[in-house]
């Protein structure tokens, strides 16, 4: 069983979260996750002169989820839209002084929420089309939200995914782990969850190669 021990920064942001709420008439907003999974984050934002002028979040989640919601909104405030889009899960977690590996899932949501809210802003206000295409590249993009808890990188950059094929609603993935890797199950569940959320994918086959 994992021991869940939080840093001072996490505890502070959890006890007194910043930027809680909903912006009226936001320039962009999004909700990610679902209460059924036990975690959900909504992010709303105002943009002025291409900078994030104000940003708020609501969370139905655990301590890590709330703390990352607080820190991500703090970090994003005042940044240009481009800078904010480049923010990663690792930036948030470094700012919090680290998170227990079992809590990776809950904390990724806040970053996903920020990105989705920015996309919503770009679509609504700038007329940028975020095409909902479904191909190998878009699946790879989605898998970049799956974090490998050991290093904090996503599983694509970590080069854990050795093979990926998409055809007629079916995804085939080959992923490799050290045979003693304790995060294997965690990562597999995350892959499943992320791909299941995509409309159009009916079948997921994940082959695990241990070395």
């Amino acid at each position: 069983m994992a021991v869940i021990k939080y840093t001072k920064e996490v505890i502070e942001h959890f006890k007194n979260p910043k930027n809680v709420g909903e912006i009226e008439n936001p320039d962009g907003d999004a909700t990610v996750g679902s209460p059924a999974c036990g975690d959900q984050v909504s992010v709303s934002l105002k943009v002025k002169d291409n900078k994030i002028e104000d940003i708020k979040f609501l969370s139905y989640g655990c301590a890590s989820n709330i703390a990352t919601g607080s820190i991500v909104t703090e970090l994003a405030k005042g940044k240009t839209v481009e800078e904010a889009k480049k923010m990663t899960w690792k930036d948030a977690v470094d700012e919090l002084g680290g998170l227990p590996p079992v809590k990776v899932h809950c904390s990724v949501l806040a970053v996903d929420g920020l990105k989705a809210a920015i996309e919503d802003y770009e679509e609504k206000k700038l007329g940028v089309k975020h095409e909902k295409r479904l191909d190998e590249q878009s699946i790879i993009e989605e898998l970049k939200s799956v974090i490998y808890p050991k290093t904090g990188n996503n599983i694509i950059d970590e080069k854990l995914v050795k093979y990926l094929k998409y055809e007629n609603g079916k995804v085939e993935i080959e992923i490799s782990f050290d045979e003693t890797d304790v995060y294997k199950q965690n990562v597999l569940e995350e892959i499943d969850e992320h791909l299941n959320e995509i409309d159009g994918i009916d079948d997921i086959e994940v082959k695990v190669v241990e070395y």
């Binding site: 909903e22 975690d39 969370s59 139905y60 301590a63 989820n65 079992v102 569940e189």
Partner: protein, 386 residues
């Protein structure tokens, strides 16, 4: 002020038990199986402990088998009985249990399924009471053993054991109950219930961790599931844990005397906590309000993540748990199998905490808990709904 309200996960040693436990550790170094004077002193104390435990549940001395705890007792009961009878009763292949058992029984039964037994999980109603009609339909002359818990570890619901034992007797099958959550909280009389085997664990009734017992009614066939020096009539080989069983006996003796007194005290606190919940609205009380172990509450709050609530209370020095302690570190999905079986909605399952008062609780702590509960539930609701 530290406020421990997780007495279904474990209980602290009673001060008298701690003193006694340390004295025995110091003063009884002998191996109870040694024939010299040191061994015999330990043996006498060991036997005293066995008689004391037997007295507390209206059993006989030789019907008690000491174990390392509840899980080991459950394993010996189920595997041991089936092993002892598989040749003589080959047509009895059914093993029946419920959907809300502790993992110690559920996983054991699943393993029996792997080994070729036909396994059945009886459903429960929304109060967590096992479906008697299901048991009537399924307990028959093909049934080897039925195992239904005495009290549930998450919601505290007490099961209609007498009725179930009657069904088992009529069908000629063995009835086992995991009484880990009930021992020391309600009066237990094995012959009145008519149970064949019963498991218990000392750390749930203010005794030490790592010790428990299995009651085995005279004449119930059992074979060992592991082997060694033949201790405990061969059923539980391994050097006798003299300080452990002596402290367990002392603890059970003390708590058994106070069952009625504590029931009244806990019911006052339970009323106060439930009254506080009423003011919060959007609260569901899980389990059977009429028929549960004294002091235990399972509370579900709408718009609140139970893990966040537990975490916030913990930072105020209040210890409660989300579901049962065993499952609270597993992956978020799947939540509580007990609440799912009781048809609790997903939102409520994710918003659940378990609060269990105990011997070290007091009025001041309960007041403090109620204040903090209101504060944190309101905070988390603002956080999720704006």
């Amino acid at each position: 002020m530290k406020v421990y309200l997780d007495h279904a996960a474990t209980t602290p040693l009673l001060p008298e038990v701690l003193t006694y436990y340390s004295e025995v550790l110091r003063d009884y170094p002998g191996n109870a199986s040694s024939l010299h004077y040191e061994g015999q002193r330990s043996r006498e104390l060991y036997n005293w402990a066995k008689q004391k435990i037997a007295d507390c549940i209206n059993a006989d001395y030789d019907e008690i088998v000491f174990t390392s705890g509840g899980t080991e007792a459950d394993n010996i009961a189920l595997f041991g009985y089936l092993k002892a009878t598989k040749k003589d009763r080959p047509n009895r292949k059914k093993v029946i249990t419920s959907t809300i058992e502790h993992e110690a029984v559920i996983e054991t039964v699943k393993e029996l399924g792997e080994q070729g037994y036909d396994i059945y999980f009886a459903p429960v109603d929304e109060k967590g009471i096992v479906d008697i009609e299901y048991l009537k339909d399924n307990i028959d002359d093909q049934t080897a053993i039925c195992s239904i818990m005495y009290a549930n570890n998450e919601v505290g619901t007490l099961q209609p054991l007498k009725e179930i034992s009657q069904l088992c007797r009529e069908a000629g099958c063995i009835f086992h109950t995991d009484a880990v959550q009930a021992m020391g909280k309600v009066n237990i009389d094995v012959s009145d219930i008519g149970v064949d085997m019963l498991s218990a664990s000392a750390h749930k009734f203010y005794g030490p961790k790592g010790v428990g017992f299995l009651y085995v009614k005279k004449g119930t066939p059992l074979e060992p599931v592991f082997y060694g020096g033949g201790h405990e009539k061969g059923l539980r080989s391994g050097t006798e844990n003299v300080p452990g069983v002596a402290a367990m006996a002392k603890a059970l003796e003390l708590v058994t005397e106070k069952i009625d007194e504590k029931r009244d005290l806990y019911s006052r606190w339970t009323d106060q906590i439930l009254e506080t919940c009423k003011q919060l609205e959007g609260v569901q009380i899980n389990g059977d309000p009429e028929n549960r172990t004294p002091g235990s509450m399972s509370l579900s709050f709408s718009g609140v993540n139970g893990e966040a609530l537990m975490g916030m209370l913990s930072m105020e020095d209040i210890a409660v748990s989300t579901a049962s302690a065993c499952s609270s570190h597993s992956h978020r999905k799947g939540g509580s199998h007990v609440l799912s079986a009781m048809h609790c909605s997903e939102e409520f399952i994710n918003g659940t905490i378990r609060v269990v008062t105990g011997y070290d609780s007091n009025d001041e702590q309960i007041d403090y808990f109620c204040d903090k509960l209101v504060e944190k539930v309101n905070l988390l609701r603002r956080l999720s709904n704006g």
